[in-house]
Amino acid sequence: MAGVTFDHVYKRYGDLVVVNDFNIQVADKEFLVFVGPSGCGKSTSLRMLAGLEEISDGRVLIGDRVVNNVAPKDRDVAMVFQSYALYPHMTVYDNMAFGLKLRKTPRQIIDQRVNEAAKSLGIDHLLDRRPRQLSGGQRQRVAVGRAIVREPAVFLMDEPLSNLDAKLRVEARSFISKLHQRLETTFIYVTHDQVEAMTMGTRICVLSAGKLQQIDTPYNLYHNPHNVFVAGFIGSPSMNFFDAQLKPDGEALVVDTGVFKIAVPPAKAAPFRSHSGKEVILGIRPEDIHDVEFLPPGIIPAQVESNVEVVEQMGNEMIIYLEEGGKNFIARTDPRTKARVGARMGIVFNLDNMHLFDRNTELSLAFDHKQKEAAARA
């Protein structure tokens, strides 16, 4: 059992920087998820930790041991690959026992660990089969089993669910979460799927273009995204963004998008006051745009009107594609909403949950303010 540290890690291929100054600490027993679009460096980072890629610069530590020049087999990690990478010529038992046999583990211990793991994964009846005789879900469990029996200090998983169909994926998600609770080991999990990241991670590390964007709990990523990228990446449908200007209005502040003019709630205005007059980006999630007829309690009704373009009735909610002044955005409303395509509808922005970003740096103004406060205190 051990934590993991990336200490200013870089990965370069010639002039191409794939991982750029990656700097995080993963606590022991944490379930950390690397998430980001393809090419963001998440898999490369994991592979550097596993020892499958060389580290161009910086240090990687497992526990308090620097592993930059340690062979993969001596890093005390186990990995589950996207393709499962099972050995096709071996039975399920031999696949799972392979690592232990190479380490000259006594036969009874191998037997005991493989049987125990197989039973806990519900694949104990498949031990004599070969991988090609298994379904996708079974193969995935064998790949996990092969990692479990090794009892490693750190579990690495590289998109282990992306080859499963949608239904199996949801099942496997909770199965891996339970596994983490039972094994009490550090998990590092790579995915491009933000739902997987949000549901499984104790913390999530959002990457884009080789750069760490934010590392935080799922709750904080959703509620306090540090920049426009994180705000747009987490949540589905994505957050709506409007180019706007922050303007003073007497004592109050207003956000003027050119189409809408919305007053910032006085209780939320403090961090924004110093940015008055600035070009900003207003971010508001679809779930914070309500039908005026079905307002949750406690929302300040700042009503505007908008054209309805597409309506998707989901049963538990309604996704409405709206347009106003040439700007498209999405609302996620009460399913009883009576929006009709082509008609206008009254909507209310819940400004308690709005986000404002600097248009040049794309950084969250609230986050920026908090950082400055912290710096001032220190």
Binding site: P72, K73, R75
Partner: protein, 281 residues
């Protein structure tokens, strides 16, 4: 094949199929004619062989030619078997290791090394014959089967390396990475993962090398002497001289052709699959 039943479609397909089959059968017969003549002549008594009756079946089966040919060839067959098994296995194993390293490990100068190895395939035997002869003599390897084994092993490496490299490109890297994390080193990965998955690669290489080396004549005749000559040299001697009894070289040819044929028949069901490896799924 389409399932749409236009008038005449079935008829046209049927005619096409028949024409194709007829053409294939005719082709097969033409290819088999020389073999028929060889076997036919080998079973005739020496006196019964002449040009006019080449196509006639033997009046009575005359096995004596085979007995004589085996007597003549005995030790040479053994020479050939020693030569072929050793040279084939050595070139296959080394080629497999080369292929493993070239396809799965990053080595310095690989981009120059691999083409250089392949270049060996395009050097004609005649081009290296005299220097090779001098070298083998200086190295005291001239005249016997061990020297010939070394020559054929080395001359086989370009093709065996190429075949195995292309074969191993199809083994997913992730599988070997999983093994590396599981605790396998360079040799563990080779012996426990790559080698067990190489069966059809080995089949292709073994059939290829076995046939090449068994049938090879030029190196055999220049690098070996007397009692250590392989079968191809012996066969040439049977057919040489003034008054040739054709039954004997024909029987010898049949005997000489059998081992590669047997190897092919045993391994052939893997052969096509192996040759096509690397062409996708």
């Amino acid at each position: 094949m389409t399932d749409i039943d236009f008038p005449g479609t079935k008829f046209r397909q049927y005619t096409l199929r028949t024409a194709l089959h007829v053409a294939l059968i005719v082709g097969t017969i033409i290819f088999l004619l020389p073999i028929f003549v060889v076997v036919n002549t080998s079973l005739k008594a020496p006196a019964a062989i002449n040009l006019a009756t080449t196509w006639h079946l033997p009046a009575e089966i005359h096995w004596q030619s085979y007995v004589e040919a085996i007597e003549e060839f005995g030790p040479r067959i053994w020479n050939s078997i020693t030569l072929v098994t050793n040279a084939t296995l050595l070139s296959a194993i080394i080629g497999s290791l080369n292929g493993y390293v070239l396809s799965k490990w990053r080595i310095y100068g690989e981009r120059i090394l691999f083409p250089l190895i392949l270049l060996g395939m395009f050097i004609p035997y005649q081009g290296v014959l005299i220097p090779l002869f001098e070298f083998m003599r200086a190295a005291r390897l001239y005249g016997g089967i061990p020297g010939l084994i070394i020559i054929h092993t080395i001359y086989g490496l370009p093709i065996t390396t190429l075949i195995f490299r292309n074969f191993y490109v199809d083994i997913p890297d992730e599988m070997l990475e999983a093994a590396a994390i599981d605790g396998a080193g360079f040799w563990d990965i080779y012996t426990q993962i790559v080698l067990p998955l190489s069966v059809s690669g080995f089949v292709v290489v073994i059939i290829w090398q076995f046939t090449q080396i068994w049938n090879e004549f030029l190196f055999a005749v220049t690098m070996t002497t007397g009692a250590s000559e392989p079968i191809t040299v012996g066969l040439a001697q049977l057919a040489g001289g003034e008054a040739v009894h054709w039954n004997l070289p024909m029987a010898g040819a049949v005997i000489a052709a059998l081992p590669p044929l047997i190897v092919y028949l045993i391994l052939s069901r893997y052969f096509i699959r192996g040759l096509l490896a690397g062409s996708g799924h």
